[in-house]
Symmetry: C2
């Protein structure tokens, strides 16, 4: 597996390629969660797992306001949501979703530009899937709705706020992850977002635990879901 850092305009990114793919290879666009970036250990481990163990090409970029694109304004906005949540006792997820929505328009543009550029960076082409939870889904839902090259998506840890309208334009197969005891996100909001996807083929997988406690078995299962669909559309 090779790991190549690139900068596209002001967007820092990484492209992982499996050893000697010998032609076209399915690509996973891997979007990180809130507060993470393309050097976060969790993202690196997952990218290496998808490329090394599953033979995908994988691309990641820093989301607006994250990693090398830090902006104090974003941190201030999130801090305000968390203070508000502490006062009201309501989960902060819907407020975080509104902040994330402010990043998503730029992020959708960034991902489409990245997808245009990846062939010149060494990816030989092939079917494209998307993987992003939490902030990754705030970006991934409108991106998957807008970008016809994406033919399957792993989404989740996100709710209806700011996303239901775009979800109604998503028609590709979707795996949607819910944490049953998510303290950031009301359960009803997550179920309503799953409901909104127009996809004929969509599966919700819910497991006990808080926002960050997605079990490893779901990560493996989601990788098999992408492999199945990207191979089918190859």
């Amino acid at each position: 597996m090779t790991e190549r850092r690139f900068v596209l305009g002001d967007i820092p990114g990484v492209l992982w390629l499996p050893e000697d793919p010998g032609g076209q290879v399915p690509l996973v666009l891997l979007a990180h969660g809130g507060g993470q970036h393309t050097r976060s250990p969790g993202l690196l481990a997952q990218a290496r797992h998808l490329a090394g163990d599953h033979g995908f090409a994988v691309a990641a970029i820093d989301a607006p306001g994250h990693g090398d694109r830090r902006r104090p304004g974003l941190i201030d906005a999130l801090a305000a949501v968390l203070r508000e949540s502490a006062v009201t006792g309501e989960p902060p997820g819907p407020g975080i979703a509104q902040v994330n929505a402010g990043l998503a328009a730029q992020a959708v543009h960034d991902w489409r530009a990245t997808l245009d550029a990846l062939p010149s960076l060494g990816w030989a082409g092939g079917p494209v899937g998307f993987w992003g939870l939490s902030l990754g889904s705030s970006i991934g839902v409108p991106l998957t709705a807008a970008e016809p090259r994406i033919t399957a998506a792993v989404l989740g840890l996100a709710g209806r706020e700011a996303l239901a309208e775009a979800a109604r334009r998503v028609t590709v197969p979707v795996r949607f992850l819910v944490q049953w005891h998510d303290r950031l996100l009301p359960r009803e909001s997550a179920l309503a977002l799953f409901d909104a996807f127009a996809s004929l083929e969509k599966s919700l997988h819910a497991n006990p635990g808080d926002h960050h406690e997605v079990p490893e078995s779901e990560v493996d299962s989601a990788a098999r879901f992408l492999a199945r669909h990207l191979r089918r559309s190859a």
Copy 2:
């Protein structure tokens, strides 16, 4: 694979054994849905798949009032529920669950007697899992709560009615299947039953479609779930 019919008291059953297991082999107790029985094509196909492709021993019995144990009273009771549902426009699932609950106490006794007898019918022993949806879960939830030999269960297409109390005594790993557009069963009722299981390890998998439209991919995935847990407890 061998397929052996037996009768235990007044309980007709079938035991499938994989070719030459050479010692202990994990057993799946396979409970059929409402209106089905141990000669139904769907049950036979699934049992042969579990034994032939996954190497499980599989046992099935006719539920009370089903197959060779038909009772006109049961059909009358279900017909009354369906007439009531047609009049009120409410889904019939909760009413069917009450009828099923009337069978479950007997069925739990039947399954425990079957489990006692299976070694004398050719099963060499091993870890035990349960698989039953709809009526199979009306029986499977109280059975799994009562029977310590069962160490993993595939359940679903069932709601809180008559089952929530037993679910709170289920502690083994559970895979729980929900059909998102189930016209028999209110979605809220199914989600509440998933919520009730005391199991630390439980996953809800929801897919679009009506009661009888569980996708094939979930059947394969549930078989892998059982294989993983029964091998672990072996």
